[in-house]
């Protein structure tokens, strides 16, 4: 529980803690232009409805924002964390700090595992991590009569050997480390130049060797590995964003928690998979759905629209002309394209099938075929809606640009002030967010097994769908100067309503995950 307490502290420390208050008045929030949490979205919310109140403290996935590079203050925070961990291991195992750092990096900063493994067998642990136990910290040294094995230069110049005693000249080592850092982007895995020697060139040694510029690059790479190796840290995936976010979530929790986080750059994404916000779908469903879409959609679409299956052998047949008397190429079965029954029963009704559902045809085969078609159609039903919303989101980016123009116009032609026309920007933003949620509800619905809970889910989905389309229509309307006040009222009301519908759906779905209410039509594994 200790770690959860820690996380809870993180929440209250967070600038956005107001966004967590589930009781906050929606409309008040809506008017607050600076609030991150407009339109009822909590930016960080594995299970927003119970955040801060859940007695179990389950799933408090939270971001405490950490940054790098451009934000020296926060970059210090990352470095500080590393220092604390190094000091801990240093003291615990009575090692030198450089050794502790190399060990920690080898164990991907998992302190407990490191200590445990080390206690079991110190020698082999050190050896595996590339550390010589009693090796002195490498120093530059002139050695009389030394010939470097790499450049064969005999000039008396400075040499260097790591704790493994493989000695080379300084300029070769410098060139080697520089090429590792600059060309290969390597930092924590730079090994001794000797062949088959795994001793690590540590930070202090790198300092002895390379130029300032390379050293800086090395340090920034090394700092990166801290985030890359850690399971509770992730880089914000937004382009040109240097922030790292922290969130304590285990991979196995991802089938019931959607750790949605918002970076200081305002990009909202799922901490579990790094993809853009995909609530209310959980990561395994998202992955499955996207894979299915990549595999199937285009081909299936065409097949469904243009072909039927032979009632005997299930070969897929395209009718590209000619009469209704079909002969299957592969099984030679003759049948009628219109009723799919055997041609032999058509008697004299040549080329003009008017039979209606009499006995005949192969009932079993028909059944299997219609089943496979039905499953395809079911998929396409959800896919088309999913894709449709995706398309709409793209189009609404254009809408946003048009809205900006509209807002300028409004300020010119009416008595409305800048702040009074912000309702349009808010409406477009809300629309996009709710469409994104709606889009993912279709992926989720595809995998949900039919039951009462699913029916409620689909009702919520339908309500949101209707609300979203209503708002969308309202925004598409041409601007009538006379009715600006009315439009403003309507749009504002509708925006609040859409936000509410969206929040209701999200709350219920996320609560459903927690209560294990969702049953999937196929087994879902992370």
């Amino acid at each position: 529980m200790a770690s959860e307490n820690e996380i809870m502290t993180d929440i209250s420390d967070d600038d956005y803690s107001d966004a967590f208050d589930p009781d906050e008045d929606m409309e008040a929030e809506f008017d607050d232009a600076s609030s991150i949490s407009d339109s009822g979205f909590s930016p960080i919310e594995p299970d927003s409805h119970s955040t801060g109140k859940d007695p179990k403290g389950k799933g408090k996935a939270v971001d405490s924002m950490l940054t790098l590079d451009n934000h020296p203050g926060a970059s210090e925070k990352l470095k500080e964390e590393q220092k604390v961990a190094v000091a801990y291991v240093e003291e615990m195992l009575q090692l030198k700090s450089e050794q502790a750092a190399v060990l920690l990096r080898y164990f991907a900063w998992k302190k407990e595992k490191l200590v445990e493994t080390y206690m079991d067998s110190p020698e082999s642990t050190l050896a595996a991590a590339g550390i010589h136990e009693n090796g002195a910290q490498p120093r530059l040294k002139r050695v009389r009569g030394f010939v470097c094995e790499v450049c064969y230069d005999e000039m008396a110049q400075e040499t260097l050997a790591l704790s493994c005693d493989h000695r080379f000249c300084k300029s070769c080592y410098a060139q080697y480390v520089t090429s590792k850092v600059v060309d290969e982007g390597e930092s924590r895995r730079i090994q001794c130049m000797g062949s088959k020697c795994n001793v690590i060139v540590d930070e202090k040694t790198v300092e002895l060797l390379v130029e300032e510029e390379v050293l800086e690059r090395y340090r920034s790479l090394l700092n990166r590995t801290y985030v890359d190796d850690s399971t509770s840290l992730r880089w914000c995936p937004a382009p040109n964003c240097d922030y790292a976010l922290k969130c304590h979530i285990l991979p196995r929790q991802l089938d019931s928690i959607i750790p949605t986080v918002q970076c200081s750059c305002l990009h909202t994404f799922c901490f579990g998979c790094g993809d853009a916000d995909h609530r209310p779908c959980c990561c395994p469903i998202v992955r499955r759905w996207l894979k299915k879409c990549a595999d199937d959609s285009e081909t299936s679409n065409w097949i469904s629209a243009n072909t039927k299956e032979c009632t005997k052998c299930h070969s897929t047949i395209e009718k590209n002309g000619g009469c209704n008397h079909m002969t299957c190429k592969s099984c030679k079965w003759e049948f009628c394209w219109v009723c799919m029954g055997p041609w032999s029963e058509h008697g004299t009704a040549w080329y003009n099938c008017s039979r209606y559902e009499e006995k005949g045809g192969d009932a079993v085969n028909q059944d299997a075929q219609s089943k496979s078609r039905a499953s395809l159609e079911r998929y396409l039903h959800y896919y088309n809606r999913f894709a449709n919303h995706e398309q709409s989101i793209k189009l609404e980016h254009e809408l946003a640009t048009r809205m900006e123009k509209k807002m300028e116009e409004m300020q010119e032609h009416s008595s409305l002030s800048w702040i009074e026309v912000q309702f349009l920007a808010k409406a477009v933003e809300t629309l996009t967010k709710c469409r994104t949620v709606l889009k993912w509800t279709y992926a989720m619905a595809f995998y949900l097994a039919k039951n009462n809970h699913t029916a409620i889910f689909e009702d919520n989905q339908a309500d949101l769908e209707q609300a979203v389309e209503g708002l969308s229509e309202l925004l598409e309307k041409p601007l009538d100067e006379e009715k600006i006040a009315e439009l403003r009222q309507q749009t504002t009301d509708k925006t609040v309503y859409v936000s509410k519908r969206c929040q209701i759906l999200l709350d219920d779905t996320l609560r459903g995950y927690e209560e294990d209410r969702w049953h999937w039509a196929e087994a879902i594994k992370m």
Binding site: E149, Y152, S179, M193, S195
Partner: protein
């Protein structure tokens, strides 16, 4: 390339290779490009390549010895770690390269690869499959190819 531009390391290595070549291996640089070597390796005893003489080319890139030399078989051979184009799957030619390794050590490793094919880390998948399913028969083909191409 003028000899004066050649690093001392390459000159030393070349001298040693010529004065004291490892058994069954010869490597001679081109007169007009001292980074480009003609290499001959004789098939190791007891391997299906025994009795064959295999031609290779070896090139030392500008970054050598920070980067590994580029080595390729010019003689056709039937081996799971060597593909149709003569490219070799050998760790020290890739990620396990160390600047302390040399032309000599690389060629010795290549020779050792002829004695000990490793079908679990294949480059030529069909040959590797053959090797795993029926080693005797695969070795027979290797011998045939050696007799046919490596004389």
């Amino acid at each position: 390339m003028a000899a004066s531009a050649l690093p001392k390391r390459i000159i030393k290595e070349t001298q040693r290779l010529i004065a004291d070549s490892p058994p069954g291996i010869s490597a001679v640089p081109h007169d007009d490009n001292l980074r480009y070597f003609d290499v001959l390796i004789s098939g190791p005893e007891g391997s299906p390549f025994e009795g064959g003489l295999f031609k290779l080319e070896l090139f030392l890139p500008e970054e050598y010895p920070m980067s590994p030399p580029k080595v390729r078989f010019l003689t056709k051979l039937y081996h799971p770690n060597i593909d149709k184009l003569g490219r070799i799957c050998l760790d020290i030619l890739k990620d396990k390269w160390s600047p302390a390794l040399q032309i000599r050590t690389v060629l010795l490793s290549v020779q050792a690869l002829l004695s000990a094919p490793n079908p679990d880390d294949p480059l030529a998948n069909d040959v590797a499959a053959h090797w795993k399913e029926n080693e005797q028969d695969a070795m027979r083909v290797s011998k045939e190819w050696t007799a046919k191409y490596a004389k």
